[in-house]
């Protein structure tokens, strides 16, 4: 089970293309990310997105410096070292070839890359056309909600992400493992059932419980998005 010490994990490295921030600045920026959203990150992501569209190779170098560790961590966990190296290159080259597929108003660049990496990894694992990652021949499918949230909403999203982390940390080890197998490792309900030696019904009930728990935590924090009101919530239960 993963611990929740994400703030202590060195999850981003300064880029040689942009001088490292002073320690106090790093602390401040992390605090902002944890509490009120990452406006500086959003600005930086937007600037990088623009430079990528202008075919600025130094921008790709910066993106790689900032996010390759996180992307490789996910790929290594899902695929092992050799395949992770191949897919890592594919992820960054896809961003280079299709920079317009990333919209900084709708998602952080790190999140975008991580979701793309997972998608590519699962695609490779299954080796089937039934698993379509982010991109189709018709165009890009964005990994995050379709409604463009804008700066205010992205700030709220950061708070929601924190609440989701908190809610995940409150789950039992079995629930957390089930959730990770389903929504990180991409295992089917049947695969999880076999791996954890529990009935499929138990897998489904654990996942339902986890999602319900997330929803409750978000609601109690006043962060549930427009959607299921109380009546629908009752129905979902």
């Amino acid at each position: 089970m993963l611990d929740m010490t994400w703030l202590a994990v060195p999850d981003s490295r300064f880029s040689l293309r942009s001088p490292p921030p002073a320690a106090a600045e790093q602390d401040e920026s992390r605090l902002q990310a944890a509490q009120a959203g990452p406006p500086k990150t959003q600005e930086a992501d937007a600037a990088l997105a623009l430079r990528l569209r202008q075919r600025d190779e130094a921008a790709l170098s910066e993106v790689y410096d900032q996010h390759s560790g996180a992307v490789f961590g996910v790929l290594n966990r899902l695929l092992g070292d050799a395949a992770a190296q191949e897919v890592l290159q594919d992820v960054f080259l896809r961003l280079w070839e299709r920079p317009e597929s990333y919209d900084p108003a709708r998602a952080g660049l790190k999140t975008f890359l991580l979701v793309m990496a997972r998608s590519r990894a699962l695609d490779r694992l299954r080796a089937t056309k039934a698993t379509l990652p982010l991109f189709t021949e018709e165009g890009a499918e964005l990994p995050l909600p379709d409604s463009g949230p804008g700066p205010v909403a992205r700030s709220e999203d950061a708070q929601r992400r924190e609440q989701i982390r908190a809610a995940l940390s409150q789950l039992s080890a079995a629930h957390r493992e089930t959730v990770e197998r389903a929504y990180l490792a991409g295992e089917s309900r049947e695969e999880i059932s076999g791996a954890m030696n529990v009935p499929v019904g138990t897998v489904k009930s654990r996942l339902n419980y986890a999602l319900k728990h997330l929803r409750v935590v978000l609601e109690s924090a006043g962060l549930e998005k427009a959607g299921p009101g109380k009546e629908v919530e009752t129905w979902l239960e």
Binding site: P10, S61, T111, L144, D157, L184, L211, K225, G227, E231
Partner: protein, 421 residues
């Protein structure tokens, strides 16, 4: 339920189950699901929750440092796609052929295939030595220049003037990725970051004499001659310092657990009886006893120092990739600083002129007396070395690259164009 009948509720339940399965399995949404989501805020909110759960789980996975050579392969492949997309018809630009993205891997396969014929690889070829494919490192060797290429096969070329006189492929389990070279007598030592090794290369005739494994990855090299024939010191990516051929004797200068930066070198230099070693992660210059390798001093200079060069008079120049050139005294303390544009990572010094190269596309001349800074755009300058006649040799990577020799005023004396083998 206000506004929702039983059929609607059942349909939403089914939709949300499908959303859970598809997000979990990494599958795209069907047109039917998209149509439903467009008119159903409840199911849309459910999808939002699933996406955020997925993102939170992904961000919780601890990061891992990818092998150092991957970054340069990504950038090289990106450069290749740009060059190719600039020359193809617009209709073909929408989606470059998938194989193009995998050319580094194909080169890797070629290298592996080549390794099977190892003996043939190390045989110099004089008849086909006209090309300098993707030069990455240039070293002033005995009687000429040794140019190491990151072309997949690890091609080494020996130049006399601007003429290629010998060539061989060094091979390797991975496509070679040369990052630095130093000369010691009639030998040249090349750091191959992709294969975690240092190659000892003889130049008369051109041949690979020996391969020294550096399991932690080689980040910096320096050579010094002495009565015993000389030593080559190296620094590893993980912060250890050692001598080639003496695997039992290494010490670490790293004090942090943080990840090293991919694709970044460190400088190592013997000067004034001390081994100067940069540690770019912490912005430190470490001073070591060259015999015991004990750390005898540390100076925090800030930034990301990545290269070192000696000066007459015993001072040392240190290049900070964050954009500074520093003059250090014998104790490693900064006694002068020049601000530089960009993020240069290689340094060459001849008398009162220093040249630094930034792979993003710039060469910069620094007059160490007047302080004048003179930039010169180059496509992908990968390395610079000072030559004994006061000129400089620059390795320029990429399709239009090659090797260029410039005088101290940045006037190009000659250029050997790159190309594919």
């Amino acid at each position: 339920m206000a506004g929702m009948n039983e059929n609607d509720a059942q349909h939403c339940e089914m939709v949300q189950q499908q959303l859970e399965e598809r997000v979990g399995l990494g599958q795209s949404l069907t047109p039917e699901l998209r149509a439903h989501l467009a008119g159903c805020p409840g199911c849309h909110a459910h999808l939002t929750l699933l996406r955020e759960l997925e993102a939170a789980l992904l961000e919780d996975v601890p990061p891992m440092q990818p092998p150092a050579h991957l970054k340069t392969q990504v950038l090289s492949a990106a450069r290749q796609t740009r060059i190719q997309t600039q020359t193809v018809a617009p209709a073909a630009q929408a989606r470059p052929h998938a194989a193009r993205r995998w050319w580094p891997l194909m080169l890797g396969a070629a290298a592996v295939s080549g390794l099977l014929a190892f003996g043939a690889l190390l045989t110099p070829s004089r008849g086909t030595a006209a090309a300098l494919p993707d030069p990455a490192v240039v070293v002033a060797a005995a009687g000429g220049l040794l140019v190491a290429s990151n072309d997949g096969g690890g091609t080494l070329n020996l130049l006399r003037g601007d003429q290629v006189t010998a060539s061989l492929r060094s091979g390797g389990a991975q496509p070679a990725w040369f990052t630095q070279g130093v000369r010691l007598g009639d030998r040249v030592y090349l750091a191959d970051a992709a294969n975690d090794r240092v190659l000892e290369v003889g130049t008369g005739p051109l041949r690979v004499v020996r391969s020294y494994p550096v399991p932690d990855g080689v980040a910096g090299l320096t050579a010094s001659s002495d009565a015993d024939g000389g030593r080559v010191y190296f620094k590893t990516v993980r912060g250890s310092v050692g001598r080639l051929g003496d695997p039992q004797h290494q010490i670490t200068v790293a004090r942090e657990d943080g990840m090293p930066l991919a694709d970044v070198m460190d400088g190592v230099l013997l000067s004034g009886g001390r081994l100067f070693v940069t540690h770019h992660l912490t912005g430190e210059i470490c001073l070591l006893d060259p015999e015991t390798l004990n750390v005898v001093g540390r100076v925090v200079v800030g930034g990301a120092p990545v290269d070192l060069a000696p000066e007459a008079g015993g001072t040392v120049l240190a290049l900070d990739a964050a954009g500074r050139l520093l003059r250090l005294n014998a104790g490693g303390e900064v006694i002068r600083s020049w601000p530089l544009p960009g993020h240069p990572d290689k340094l060459g010094v001849n008398g009162s002129v220093a040249l630094v190269t930034d792979r993003a596309g710039q060469l910069t001349r620094i007059d160490l007396v007047s302080g004048e800074i003179q930039p010169m755009p180059l496509t992908h300058p990968m390395d610079v070395v000072a030559l004994s006649d006061g000129t400089f040799a620059v390795a320029e990577g990429g399709g239009g690259g090659g090797v260029r020799v410039l005088d101290e005023t940045l006037k190009t004396s000659w250029k050997r164009q790159g190309g594919k083998r």
